[in-house]
Amino acid sequence: MTQPPTSSPMTVRRTPVPDILIRNARVLGGEPTDLVLRDGVIAEIGQGLSADGAEVVDAAGLVALPGLVDLHTHLREPGREDAETVYTGSRAAALGGYTAVCAMANTSPVADTAGVVEQVYRLGQEAGLVDVQPIGAVTVGLAGERLAELGAMADSAARVRVFSDDGFCVADPRLMRRALEYVKAFDGVIAQHAEEPRLTQGAQMHEGDVSARLGLTGWPAVAEESIIARDVLLAGHVGARLHVCHVSTAGSVEIIRMAKARGVRVTAEVTPHHLLLTHEKAESYDPVYKVNPPLRTDADVEALREGLRDGTIDIVATDHAPHAAEDKECEWAYARPGMLGLETALPIVLDVLGEDWPLIAERMSYAPARIAGLDGHGNALVAGAPANLTLVDPTVRWSVDPTGLASLSHNTPYAGMTVPGRIVATFLRGVPTVLDGKVQK
């Protein structure tokens, strides 16, 4: 778009960018301090700084966090540009305080070749609001039958390190073992959507008293837990890294806790919605609450919160899943599963964890960047670090309006809910992507 075809994406950012002087930001909730952003990095940090010609951002009362990193985002492009595009999803991400998102592979065509992951990567660079890091499919066409060319995707311009068939489980144990082993060659990680497909045929919601009452086919907790148990054993056996997507049950937390204690290299994520909402939401039959894995019980929510606090669960990931209106304004059983998440993730986590800013930075920035191998992200806000950060006003409470979100789709489960914490500004390598709560592109 803006770049000549021969230049690399990096050259785009060489256009002169004014220095930024952020005044009186509370880094991770600490004492107010100034930051100078210059040439893509935090040039100086301290009190009473000045910078000639710099654009001044008054951050009095605002908390500075490292730019958030989402390990689990559905951007829908290519294939469902009516639900979301890389550009609109990038806007939503920037407004949510993110500077990097990992785009899931279940697009159409599936991101199972170097060509498709490079396309998504390039679209992200062109949008220029967050770093879009493509995730590659584990198996060809997400069909769970044979490995996609994982090495080619790793070697591509997109430098893929995370591989996932998300939406589907790599159910075949032998194939899963091979995938875990194979990606060790380039320090890759398999992000598993843990769902034993034979136990979830036709499943619509959490299997329990509510599903029994509503006559909706149950998605039993054991379908998730049995796969996680198998996979941590496999990962331990072959000495590979495993990442577990959207953990949703108390039993899963327990299994992961046990595996970590045994030294298995496993990491895990939880979504904001699984930290807050429960299966009773299905009583309305409104498919805005239909999601995979499904909303579970109060006891599961409690266990997930505890796991997130104690580190059993490493990160919060949104599983941002935009869907066109016609895929949600229908019968529950016919609706697609998934919820928007990018613009509400930090407020929900703030609501759940409270203002524990160092913990929020770890779970939403440092740890996801480490898992994804994104060196330029998830760094502490110190002089010399890449200037990827976001400014949050924790005192503002706002009401979620589905049509007021930047996403092309409106399927947020938080409509009308009042949540704490407003993202005021976001900077990607020193360039403001959001200022005064407004996206800059």
Partner: protein, 302 residues
């Protein structure tokens, strides 16, 4: 009452009122001219996404006996087959001035969704594996007319409870009306957490001597291929109602079935055709009960 989506929405007084109105309606059905002018000028749409001749005809007869205009809308061969969404269909019916929509749908909760999109009343005529409220009401009506009461009765509901909308509606309504319910079937087909107030049993022979009402549910043969039970014969041996089991029941106890029956599977012809079977009465009572529901929903009671 605006809609009839679930028997959970009915308190004992309202449910009893429906049964009482149905009794009056039954007397109309016994007359030479089986018609009341009550709903003249009102439009009732039968919106059927599943084939169900008996339920559709029953609702059609009920609406016509109350002099309503009836429009039958079957998904087969309609705009639905051309991909029209439930929401768009709802708006179409709305634009045509439907006062009530009777909906049968394979997806649980579809009537609840429809109720958001139309201003008229919605009657759930069976949604997926969720509920079938008018069936439960006609079952209650049948029990009351045969046994003289519902409060204190012990009702055994036998068979594929897991997939049965009839069972779900009956459990809720019978609870409200003071009956004791025992669900009986193989553990694969009986959810244990359906309702805290019901009992669950896996041995039919142990339950039969204590039952006042034995309600047999239809078992679909395809459950067999999905390993809910090993074979049709084994199912029949363990949970089918035959003459020998009928004789284990108290002398006053009745046998019910919502139909259509699988003769030889869950019920033998000897039992189905015995004087203790209420199967044909249930069909007759269905019209009176649906008349009562339409009457109540469409403001006839005001």
């Amino acid at each position: 009452m605006k809609h009839l989506l679930s028997t959970a929405d009915l308190d004992a007084a309202t449910a009893t009122e429906i049964l009482d109105i149905a009794t009056e309606m039954a007397s109309v059905s016994g007359r030479e001219i089986k018609k009341l002018p009550t709903l003249r000028g009102r439009t009732v749409v039968n919106l059927f996404y599943e084939d169900s001749t008996r339920t559709r005809i029953s609702f059609e007869a009920a609406a016509k006996r109350l002099s309503a205009d009836v429009i039958n809308f079957s998904a087969k061969g309609s705009s639905v087959e051309k991909g029209e969404s439930l929401k768009d269909t709802a708006w179409t019916l709305q634009a045509m001035g439907a006062d009530a929509v009777v909906i049968r749908h394979p997806a649980s909760g579809a009537p609840h969704r429809l109720a958001n999109w139309v201003t008229g009343s919605v009657l759930n005529a069976g949604d997926g594996t969720h509920e079938h409220p008018t069936q439960a009401l006609l079952d209650a009506y049948t029990m009351r007319s045969r046994m003289g009461r519902i409060d204190g009765l012990h009702v055994a509901i036998v068979g594929d409870v897991l997939h049965s909308r009839v069972a779900r509606s009956n459990v809720l309504l019978l609870n409200t009306l003071g009956a004791k319910v025992t669900l009986v079937g193989p553990p694969t087909l009986v959810p244990t957490d359906l309702n805290a107030s019901v009992q669950v049993a896996y041995d039919l022979d142990a339950v039969l001597p204590q039952a006042d009402v034995v309600m047999m549910l239809r078992v679909q043969r395809e459950r067999m291929t999905d390993s809910y039970f090993p074979s049709a014969r084994e199912y029949s041996r363990r949970y089918g109602l035959d003459g020998a089991r009928l004789r284990r029941m108290p002398a006053h106890a009745i046998v019910m079935h919502p139909g259509p029956m699988n003769r030889g599977m869950e019920i033998t012809p000897e039992v189905a055709d015995s004087p203790r079977s209420t199967i044909v009465e249930q069909v007759t009572n269905g019209v009176s009960v649906r008349m009562a529901c339409l009457y109540l929903l469409l403001g006839g009671a005001r």
